[in-house]
Each structure stands twice: as C-alpha cells, then as structure tokens.
Symmetry: C2
Subunit: 248 residues, 2 copies
C-alpha cells in the first residue's frame, strides 16, 4: 500500500486532459509532473468524450468525503477543463445546453468550496480552463474519413460561446481562469483553417497547443496562487548533497 507523502494536483476534464501525458506532445500533465516531481503528485482524472453532465457523478467519486479523509492527500490545485464536448451540436448525445453547462461548472466549484459540501476542501485552489477553438475544416475531414463517415458534430461559434461561458463562471465564482481559446485563435491569425498550428485533428491540442496551455497555466498559478507554484514548494526528502554533507 502506498503512503500519502505528497499532496496532489488533480486534473479534471475530458480527452484533452486524459491525453495530457501523450508521448510526443509534452502535454500539460507531462510538464506538470516534471516540475512538481517530489512536490505534488499529479492525478489525471480526464475522461475522454465526457461532458459535464456525465462527469458530475465521477467527480463525486474522485473527492474524499469527510469520513474518508484519513490519510487522503489534499488537492492543492484542481484544474477543471470542460466544454469541448458539451459544445457538441444537436443531435450529438454529448451536447449539454449552455445554461446547464454553466450550472454544472458552478456545482463542481461549490462541491469543493461550499462549507456545507461533504467534499469541502478549503486548501484547494481551482483553475478553470476554457475549451480550445475548433477547426471545423480539420474536424470534418477527420469525421468524413471514418467508416461509416460521421456528420460534423461541432461548430466554431458554439464552442466560442462555451469558452466565453467558462470565463464568466470563473469571474462569478472568483477562481483562476486560463483562457486557451484566445491565444490559439490569435496565434492562428484568427483564421479557423490555420488552427492546424495548434490542433491535431481540429479538436485536440498538438505539442504547440499544449505548450501554450502549460505556459498560461503556470503563469496563472504563479500570479494567483503563488504559494502552490513549484518554485515555492519544498522538495519532499532532502537533496542528496545535504545527506552526504551530514554523513561526511
């Protein structure tokens, strides 16, 4: 059995979170794991294809209720990154209406921040992340290449409205916000077809996209929650040279 020797960063989201360690991408999970080694463990709770409706019962199971908190690690940073699937257009079963998406995000935050919640966790710093822009040209080509071909399930403007909504929730709830939508859009010269620069398949980030995300996330942590920036956390267990000097 593993003892709890470090607190954790929990990454909660959809496939862009689940894929955060994909080889060749240096994704945000890989980069966070590296800089937080011997400081905080990274728990990836990314759920490919999930929307916020489906993720809600999962989230409850990822959090320790008060009665189970003996030896449970504290979640020092919690990233919540949804919207890419909620923003699917009807008749996609992944579609969640915008107002319910907003309600769900607020519920996730309340589960952690509301003193009356069984999962109340005052030490947890929350970072909301917006969905990236969709490149419907790339996405359509990908869907049409499948057997059988699949109809286009996302729409550029709809995903943009879900990204805007995440920003609104972060503001309303006073939690940190990482806007990945805007820098990718602007970095692509505000041309949807040029989002190939940051997206693999019109939907998922490539290495350049994850680099933008990681830099933005670490900057937000440093500005908003500096006490949990990796530079400000001590290493677990002493550096080897200190041991060598003690024994020397």
């Amino acid at each position: 059995m593993a003892a709890t020797i470090q607190d954790v960063i929990m990454l909660f989201g959809d496939s862009t979170t689940q894929g955060g360690w994909e080889p060749g991408l240096d994704g945000f999970a890989t980069r966070l794991s590296h800089v937080y080694a011997r400081k905080l463990d990274i728990l990836n709770r990314g759920l490919s294809g999930y929307n916020t409706d489906w993720a809600k019962p999962v989230f409850e199971r990822c959090l320790a209720a008060k009665r189970d908190q003996l030896n449970a690690p504290k979640i020092r940073i919690l990233t919540i990154w949804f919207g890419a699937n909620d923003a699917c257009i009807k008749p996609s079963p992944q579609h969640v209406p915008l107002d319910r998406f907003v309600t769900n995000l607020k519920e996730f935050i309340d589960m952690v921040q509301d003193e009356a919640s069984p999962y109340y966790s005052p030490a947890t710093r929350i970072v909301l992340i917006s969905p990236p822009p969709v490149n419907t040209h790339q996405r359509l080509a990908d869907l049409q290449s499948r057997d059988p071909p699949v109809a286009l399930d996302r729409d550029f403007r709809t995903t943009r409205s879900y990204a805007d909504a995440v920003k609104g929730v972060a503001h309303a709830k006073n939690v940190a916000f990482v806007d990945i939508w805007t820098p990718l859009w602007e970095g692509a010269g505000m041309r949807e077809s040029d989002l190939t620069k940051y997206l693999n398949d019109g939907l998922h980030l490539n290495a350049a996209g994850y680099e933008v995300l990681y830099e933005a996330l670490i900057n937000v942590i440093g500005e908003r929650y500096p006490e949990v920036h990796f530079d400000n956390l001590p290493s677990t267990f002493p550096p080897w040279v200190d041991i060598a000097n003690l024994k020397g």
Copy 2:
C-alpha cells in the same frame, strides 16, 4: 481531499526515475502514465543522487504500514531502480559497497514481500531494473566542464558489476528483472564512447534510452505479471459511448 479511485504503480529509484517525465524525452514515467491513464496512477518516488543506503528510510515512508492502510491505494507494480549512484567509486560519498548494495535491494523486497513486515503487500508485483552502462568519456567531459571541475566519480566496469548484482538479486528473490545494461551496451556496438546513442551526459538516459527501457519494462510486465499489463486492466469509469447509448 482526493479519494482513492485507482491503485498505483510506484517508481522507486534515483535520478533516472525522478527524471522519467522530463519533457522532450518521452521517459518511462510519461509513457506509463499515458498507457495506464484511467487504470493505475503513477507515483514517482525517484530521488536524484540517492544511493540505496539513503533511500532506505525514504522507502519506509513511501509505504503505508498496516495501521495506515485505510483508503491507501494498493501498489500493483513497484519498480526498484538503483545502482547508478551506489556504483560511484571512492572517495565519492555516494559509494555503497557491492555487498551492502545487494543487501539493501533484498531488504527493499523483503519489506514488501515478507509476511512479518509492517509493510507486507502481497498484491505488489516487483520489477528490479539494472543501472545503465556508464560512458566515462561523456561523464568526464561533463564533470570537467563544471566550476570547479570535478574528478571522475564512476568507472565502466564497476557499474557493470552492480548491474550484474541486480540481476542476481532478482533471480535469488524470484522477482521480475529488466536488464537495461545489456541492450544499451549491445546497441552501442559494445563501444563505450558510442553510448552517446542512449545517454545524455554519460549517465542519464536520453529519449532513445528511455524508449528501450519502456519497451523492455512493458514486455516484462506482459510476460511475468500479465494481470497488471494495461491491456488487461479495465478503465476506471465507463467509456462515454456506453453512457450515451444508455441515455439514448
């Protein structure tokens, strides 16, 4: 607080373990984290510069004793990867004599496998990994470039004898063994200076070295402990299409 929803793989070792998520390398921690996503969490307990003497008290703290096992995740796979620092030559403070290195490795295994141990964990599958070969040409150049320059602290044949010893311990204790020494040596045409193919600085694996390690490790898991190979473990939480079909 984070609930325990997945068991874990614990990576216990020195800097080659701690650096297993380094960006640009697709290290074994990155690759394991990816293929075991939604199956097992990866806990990196790599300790840069440590030898087995210094790692012993740390290992005790990484394992949950019986009284603390409520809600603690099971360690399903434990990799133990030491020797690169123990094999330092005198007067390096990192040096551990070969016989004590062997004793220490056996103690690590006994802490997990001995029924009388307070950390007894019958579900844990252990994989010992040998240290990689040293390229003393590369290592010396690195040490001489420091300010002030540092004398050569490792020796090709000594590290080889520590690698052989790890194999001997694995055999004696009947646990799985990953030989990283031999494939790197043979892949370099058995020419020490050509180990640049697999090593960054004469000591630490580069991307090609980690690729050999990951493939060897996954093969050993599949052959020796197939029940914990990622292909044979179910995903935590159902696939999204199953939820969509249920609601459809």
